[in-house]
Amino acid sequence: MNDILALLIPSFIETLYMIGVSAFFTILLGLPLGIILVITEKNHIMPLLKLNKFLSTIINIIRSLPAIILIILIGPFARFIVGTSIGTTAAIVPLVVAATPFFARIVETSLREIDSGIVEASISMGATPLQIIIKVLLPEAMSSIVLGITITLINILGYSAIAGIVGGGGLGDLAIRYGYHRFRTDVLIACVVLLIIIVQITQFLGNSLAKKLNKK
């Protein structure tokens, strides 16, 4: 029992670290990207059709690549960004690259749900494009964006299991190394149970927060 705990605790912390840092950068990059995707559309507040098309294509390309390929491809890039291409920190780079386009699409969908009349009313009140983004689009879509963040977190958790390839560690990695390669079924089960608990808690918190924010 103690040896399982000794294995689980560091892996659990690695997983939380990977998800936390990845999620932070994913939101930091994905939120503005999603906003740009919406506002640069035709008939929105800052129509820039070519930029829109360009970003959309890039996002589609990244999203077409399987996570495992992305992690290998991104190795050299990770070394450039965080100084190493292996280890938990290095794993964060491909996680962010994989999750950002996904999250950007989710933000895009959330913002599109807002009735165009509300944006129009804001324009009629003399709001600047920045004011419309910060005071109208984001607050109106916040409940839906929170749900999107929840989905993204759980997605990153899934990707993080693959991060074992670059020595990323974490629960997924532990489950494969001990549970699969060394036939330690008890470790495998413990990892899976822990992963299920993380997902359940994340989804529960996300749902409650989204419900609280939804005034519609």
Partner: protein
């Protein structure tokens, strides 16, 4: 004063061009309530949305208090928009904000100090009689209450002009009446010029001093509401203002007349005098009195049987009494 000069709006859909507005010239005098009415597709919504450039006109000029809105850059246009309130058919309130914050929203955009915002919102809440709903969310309000929030929000920046784009079209008749009464009282107490776009004739009758009738992107008739209603000169306008008056064929006498009583003539016993003076028999076929801005407008269809050759005298008798006559032939 608002003056539109040669305003044209053309929508391009691929290779197709749709002309929504053709060379519109329109003047709206300060402090009036001006109605714009037309069937759907007539261009009335495009027209009102061009006034604050929500819709960019293809060509033309928009003069408001001596400034041509078409000549303004983005920043100055935003400032000009703050002097115009707008309300919408779908209310367009922010779902995530309380009634209080919805009304405070335009003031926050203008970066007013918090204390001033609070004071202003409280007085606006009183004006629209929603003080008890300050902390409710729009989803908890009825349609009429939502539109009153919309009106309070539109008035927050103390505008000179209020644009109403089908503002009552989503409301039931009773609520419509309440909103119209509110608009009228705002117009009178604050002296705000109100432009109302609608497809409902009753809205025009109820509150508008002037009316412009649009058809196919062009103005086909305009004038004082009571004049346009009592003697519409255009065929399409007639169709609009007159409730269709179908008479069964066997009811139509030798001479059937449609009479419109205006300018106080609805209060004089004209028919009774007519019978005595010309010694004829009058058969009343249909009749109604409408009130346009509290002025009565009577419509009466009569049949005259034992008429001699004094038809012209009868017509001039009516006309001297401010009654418009139209002789309906039996066909």
């Amino acid at each position: 004063m608002i003056r539109l000069k040669n305003l044209t709006k053309i929508y391009k859909k691929g290779k197709h061009e749709v002309t929504a507005l053709k060379n519109i010239n329109l003047e709206v005098s300060k402090g009036s309530i001006h109605g714009i009415i037309g069937l759907s597709g007539a261009g009335k919504s495009s027209l009102i949305r061009c006034i604050n450039r929500l819709e960019e006109p293809t060509s033309g000029e928009i003069w408001i208090d001596g400034i041509n809105l078409m000549s303004l850059n983005n920043k100055n246009l935003r400032n000009a928009r703050k002097r115009m309130g707008m309300i919408f058919q779908g209310f367009n309130l922010l779902w995530s904000k309380t009634v209080f914050d919805n009304i405070a929203f335009p003031l926050k955009l203008s970066r007013l100090p918090e204390a001033q915002i609070k004071e202003r919102v409280i007085s606006l809440l009183e004006l629209v009689e929603l003080s008890d709903k300050a902390n409710s969310y729009p989803s908890q309000l009825s349609g009429g209450q939502k539109q009153r929030v919309g009106i309070a929000r539109a008035l927050a920046n103390e505008p000179n002009i209020l644009l109403c784009d089908e503002a009552t079209s989503a409301l039931d008749p009773k609520t419509t009446k309440q909103i119209l009464t509110l608009l009228k009282s705002i117009n009178q107490s604050l002296g705000i010029t109100v432009i109302v776009v609608t497809h409902e004739m009753d809205v025009i009758k109820e509150i508008c001093d002037y009316v412009t009738i649009l058809e196919g992107g062009e103005i086909i008739e305009e004038g004082n509401t009571i004049d346009v209603f009592s003697k519409p000169s255009n065929e399409i306008t007639k169709h609009f203002v007159e409730s269709p008056n179908y008479l069964p064929k066997d009811l139509v006498d030798d001479i059937t007349m449609s009479l419109s009583f205006m300018k106080g003539s609805a209060k004089i016993p004209i028919i009774s005098k007519l019978i005595k003076e010309f010694d004829i028999d009058v058969n009343i076929l249909s009749g109604q009195i409408e009130y346009i801005q509290n002025e009565p407008l009577g419509k009466l269809t009569i049949g005259i049987s034992n008429i001699s050759d004094n038809l012209d005298d009868i017509i001039s008798y009516f006309e001297s009494n401010n009654v418009k006559v139209e002789v309906i032939t039996n066909e």
